[in-house]
């Protein structure tokens, strides 16, 4: 980390001076000296569906907040103090910003926890975990797990909402391969409607419903979490139904 680049004593002095003077130049130096901490902590959340750059931005703002609030006379290391602040802000970001419909906090937190549990247990068990196993792993009752999965439908990440093209992404490549595998009927009837979806959602629909890959296989291929694949599938099917003139978007 860049704290290594500057001797500890020098940083301590800078903090003391900043606490006395509030000098903005010193503040900038302190933020710069610890920016790697924000990157490091942001990386812990990259598998939750938010772009890394957005997470770094949230972490960096929290770092500035930590610099402003840090009291060097308390005898606590700045990295300890700042880590708590940054982690708190990152968690709040997921809790508050990622939900289209306000879900109870316990469900929001459980949903984010489940995201990690699904990934870890799938790897450990070599298969998809059951709801009972997810409940045991998260310490939540089964009915709360089911509630959280349903609430997760209203969770949205920036990449989920993005409608921009992803020509260079793995999604576009895999989607194109899956398109070649599709039946004549599928191509004739649904391709025009698929074209209206973002590249990543097109790719996921084709991989699941044309190429027949499972959600976990798609997650591996695309380098995203299985729960993110679930959300994208539900969202893109809903959009596709709208395009086909069926019903309004499902809640």
């Amino acid at each position: 980390m860049s704290t290594r680049a500057r001797p500890r004593e020098e940083l301590k002095e800078l903090f003391s001076e900043f606490a006395r003077s509030g000098d903005r130049e010193i503040r900038a130096q302190l933020v710069e000296a610890h920016i790697a901490l924000a990157h490091h902590l942001a990386r812990r959340f990259v598998y939750r569906g938010e772009p890394y750059d957005d997470l770094v931005q949230v972490g960096s703002l929290a770092l500035i907040k930590a610099v402003d609030r840090f009291d060097p006379d308390r005898g606590v290391e700045f990295t300890t103090f700042a880590s708590k602040t940054i982690l708190g802000e990152l968690k709040r970001h997921f809790r508050d910003k990622g939900w289209a419909i306000r879900a109870p906090r316990r469900l929001q937190e459980l949903y984010l926890q489940l995201n990690q549990s699904v990934a870890l247990l799938s790897q450990e068990l070599g298969r998809s975990p059951t709801i009972a196993e997810l409940a045991a792993d998260t310490g939540a009752p089964e009915e709360h797990v089911i509630e959280a999965l349903e609430a997760g439908r209203s969770y949205r990440s920036t990449s989920l909402e993005s409608s921009g093209p992803d020509e260079d992404g793995v999604g576009a490549r895999l989607g194109a391969e899956a398109r070649e595998m599709g039946s004549v009927e599928w191509r004739a009837t649904l391709e025009p409607h698929l074209q209206a979806l973002p590249q990543r959602e097109q790719a996921i629909l084709r991989l699941r419903f044309v190429a027949g890959l499972t959600q976990s296989e798609i997650a591996t291929e695309m380098g995203i979490s299985q729960m993110h694949v679930s959300r994208l599938l539900a969202h893109s099917l809903s959009t596709l139904r709208q395009r086909c003139g069926e019903v309004e978007e499902l809640p």
Binding site: R127, A132, L190, Q215
Partner: protein, 151 residues
């Protein structure tokens, strides 16, 4: 309407492993069906991935039932599972005023594209599915079997 696979036989089934749910024929209420199906799938010990597939499949099944006239009547869902991990869901669209014996009742004008979409999606999500319409009552069903762990 969809594939012609016979509906699962429920007569004499173990009532203990059976759940019935009735909800308004309104897409906004489908979360009740998804949550119930997920709870039943949990009892049948299906994995997370299959539970997620089932939730998508329930949407498709109900939407196929609703056709192009959502909002009229009720959807009655019957869910049943066994110890082998086979889960059956039968949905019936019950129109306002109850089922009609009127054979002259006009057929619904479901968009072929919508049906094609539902069929393709259900093909990929479940092991069997089908639908019929008798005496103005529309039914759709699906069957999902617990997948063995793929190591």
């Amino acid at each position: 309407m969809m594939r012609s696979v016979p509906a699962p036989e429920f007569i004499g089934a173990n009532q203990y492993n059976r759940v019935e749910l009735s909800l308004p024929a309104d897409p906004q209420m489908l979360f009740l069906a998804r949550m119930t199906a997920a709870a039943v799938a949990t009892r049948a010990e299906l994995g997370y991935e299959q539970v997620e597939d089932l939730r998508l499949a329930i949407d498709e099944l109900c939407i196929a039932l609703l056709g192009s006239h959502p909002g009229a009547g009720q959807i009655a869902l019957l869910l049943q599972w066994d110890s082998e991990g086979t889960l059956d869901v039968v949905g019936t669209l019950v129109p306002d005023g109850g089922p009609s014996d009127d054979q002259n009742q006009p057929e619904r004008s479901d968009a072929p594209l919508s049906l094609e979409l539902s069929q393709r999606i259900l093909d990929a999500l479940v092991d069997d599915h089908g639908a019929d319409a008798i005496g103005g009552v529309h039914r759709a069903w699906l069957r999902m079997r617990r997948r063995e762990p793929s190591l």
